[in-house]
């Protein structure tokens, strides 16, 4: 089937069809991004916490803006090249545009990667420290919950997936936490059988459990039908009830012998086990029990739930009294430096912005400058580097003093939620646009020979989408990076 009006304009609209189509699509895109921009505005206006403005590194965002501007120029130049019948220039500009798309996504990926590696710990009094937990290895547990002396595990046959086994470690001599232990894990089941815990065993056990339950269900249904047929015949009903009891007994006995119970407690054979558990896998824990989200329960002893943390910043904007902040329990040596920094920055601000001096105590700019203590800026380089990278300078933060702990992902705050949503959605548009433009580049030669105007129209339509992507970024950049 031939698609009409791909080259020449339709008489009633004066436009070729694809152009009408792309503009209607762009109109819907305006509504999509418009809704998200307005969400951003309302989140920001209604924020009851210090809005994290001027916190993203400007340089990557600035470079990405230049990259997108360059790509916008090149994509419209590619269209002009086809119109002027200069295919070489078309190819050059399209390749340049695709390189820009690749560069943009590379820089965005770099930004995202660093965000995912960066963590924030908020104390119960509102003090915040940023940095990263020590990576869990042979010597450190990092931000894992250490649960040892595990002598029993309760498996939930319906929900367990045994993924918790990957978090098992061994405690050996001087090294407190060896790497994940290999080899079979042997347990003793309630029926006295020795069980080697594996996903295969769990699958077989689930199947057996379903078979027994299914068989019992079928038997009961058959007897219920029989009972209905013998309604009024007391003798027959008594006999059927006896058969039902017998079937139940058989099923219960079989379940007991085969360890077919939803909550199956297995005792560890040999040395007690040790687990370094990710908090994200845990439903709840106490001193003697830890429940995973898949309903598996460890019975043992909580050794520590503190987070070993290297910091790069202390932020006390949420504290009522910065001098009494909880964070000074862990960084007593930095308190004087912080207070000096606070007073200096506040004085600087008042001198620099005399019009705002009267309201400086509530001015978000002043609070950010004076109460956000970035080690890299405020401390000697070597000291700041050690605080962030030297494990001996790490602090141990108990979870009992934690209000919130997360890396820089959408979970951290509404700002990061909408930041990742909008930049992620924009990134998907860049990828989509690049695929379409790349397709025009690959297949363009044939079309150029047959009908260059058709190719020009295609490139124009692809270019219109690309410009829209650039246009969205022109608003995203100042909103997220500068304001």
């Amino acid at each position: 089937m031939e698609i009409p009006y791909t080259v020449n304009a339709r008489p009633d609209t004066g436009l070729y069809n694809a152009k009408v189509g792309i503009w209607l699509f762009l109109a819907s895109e305006v509504m999509l991004f418009g809704g998200l921009f307005s969400s951003y505005v309302f989140l920001r206006i209604g924020a009851d916490f210090p809005w994290p403005f001027h916190e993203l590194k400007v340089k990557p965002g600035f470079i990405n803006t230049l990259v997108l501007i360059a790509s916008s120029v090149s994509v419209v130049a590619a269209w002009a090249a086809v119109k002027a019948r200069r295919y070489g220039w078309f190819q050059f500009n399209m390749i340049f545009t695709l390189c820009c798309a690749l560069g943009f996504m590379g820089i965005k990926g770099y930004e995202y990667f660093h965000k995912f590696q960066h963590y924030s710990f908020e104390f119960t009094d509102g003090s915040v420290i940023n940095g990263h937990p020590i990576h869990a290895d042979e010597k450190n547990h990092g931000d894992r919950i250490v649960f040892g002396e595990v002598k029993s595990i309760v498996i939930d046959l319906r929900n367990s997936n045994l993924e918790f086994l990957e978090q098992r470690r061994e405690k050996k001599g001087e090294l407190p936490y060896a790497m994940p232990a290999s080899g079979d894990l042997k347990f003793k089941s309630p029926s006295g059988k020795e069980v080697v815990l594996s996903k295969g065993w769990l699958k077989a056990q689930k199947r057996k459990w379903l078979d027994v339950a299914g068989e019992l269900s079928r038997t009961v249904t058959a007897y219920e039908i029989e009972k209905a047929a013998n309604k009024g015949n007391d003798e027959a009903l008594a006999a059927i009830n006896a058969k039902l009891d017998e079937a139940n007994k058989v099923a219960i006995e079989k379940a007991k012998v085969e360890d077919l119970t939803q909550s199956l407690k297995l005792d560890v054979v040999g040395e007690p086990l040790l687990f370094l558990v990710k908090e994200s896998n845990v439903a709840k824990y106490g001193q003697a029990e830890l429940s995973f989200k898949d309903s598996t329960v460890l019975q043992g002893k909580l050794e520590t739930d503190a987070i070993e943390f290297n910091a790069d910043l202390i932020d006390l904007r949420k504290n009522k009294d910065a001098e009494k902040a909880l964070v000074w329990k862990y960084y007593p040596d930095l308190k004087d430096d912080f207070l000096r920094h606070r007073d200096e920055k506040s004085d600087e601000f008042k001198k620099k912005y005399p019009k705002r001096a009267g309201t400086a105590d509530a001015d978000p700019d002043n609070l950010r400058e004076s109460l956000r203590f970035e080690f890299e800026v405020a401390l000697p380089e070597e000291h700041a580097h050690k605080l962030l990278h030297d494990h001996s300078m790490a602090v141990s933060l108990p979870r009992s003093e934690k209000r919130f702990y997360s890396n820089f992902t959408p979970a951290l705050s509404p700002y990061y939620a909408i930041y990742f949503l909008m930049t992620g959605l924009h990134g998907l548009h860049v990828i989509g646009g690049a695929i379409v433009l790349g397709w025009f580049l690959i297949t363009g030669k044939k079309m150029y020979r047959e009908n260059p105007e058709h190719l020009a129209n295609r490139v124009e339509v692809g270019g219109l989408f690309w410009h829209f992507v650039d246009l969205v970024w022109i608003f995203l950049f100042p909103l997220y990076y500068l304001m």
Partner: protein, 118 residues
């Protein structure tokens, strides 16, 4: 609003040859203006004190709007487009304004006040 056939970029006039060099010059100049606008935006955000942070935000968004207008008018050819496109965009603006108005209604939400008051 209809396309002008003597347009230097030759848009929408496939029967007329395009002045390639002139078009490229125009696009490069617009690109340069966009880069300049970006630098000014960063400068305004960090170096200019207008006495109120909201004024800085407003100025930043104004510059962004000028940049967006350049992209829309020159790169997206909205300076010489057919009437149907303008009509489509007009409706988009109306719907967009209506959507923003709906968000503004959040300020009239009586539940919020009773929630915060004892």
């Amino acid at each position: 609003m209809d396309s002008s056939h003597d347009n230097p970029t030759g848009h929408d006039s496939h029967d007329h040859p395009i002045d390639f060099a002139k078009a490229i010059r125009t696009y490069l100049m617009v690109g340069g203006a966009l880069v300049f606008g970006t630098i000014i935006t960063v400068f305004v955000a960090y170096k200019v004190d207008l006495g109120d942070i909201h004024l800085n935000i407003a100025l930043g968004l104004l510059i962004a709007t000028v940049k967006v207008s350049l992209v829309a008018l020159i790169f997206m050819h909205l300076n010489h487009e057919r009437g149907l496109i303008y009509k489509t965009l007009l409706f988009t603006m109306i719907f967009f304004a209506a959507m923003m108005f709906l968000f503004c209604l959040a300020y009239l939400d009586p539940i919020k006040d009773s929630f915060f008051k004892p």
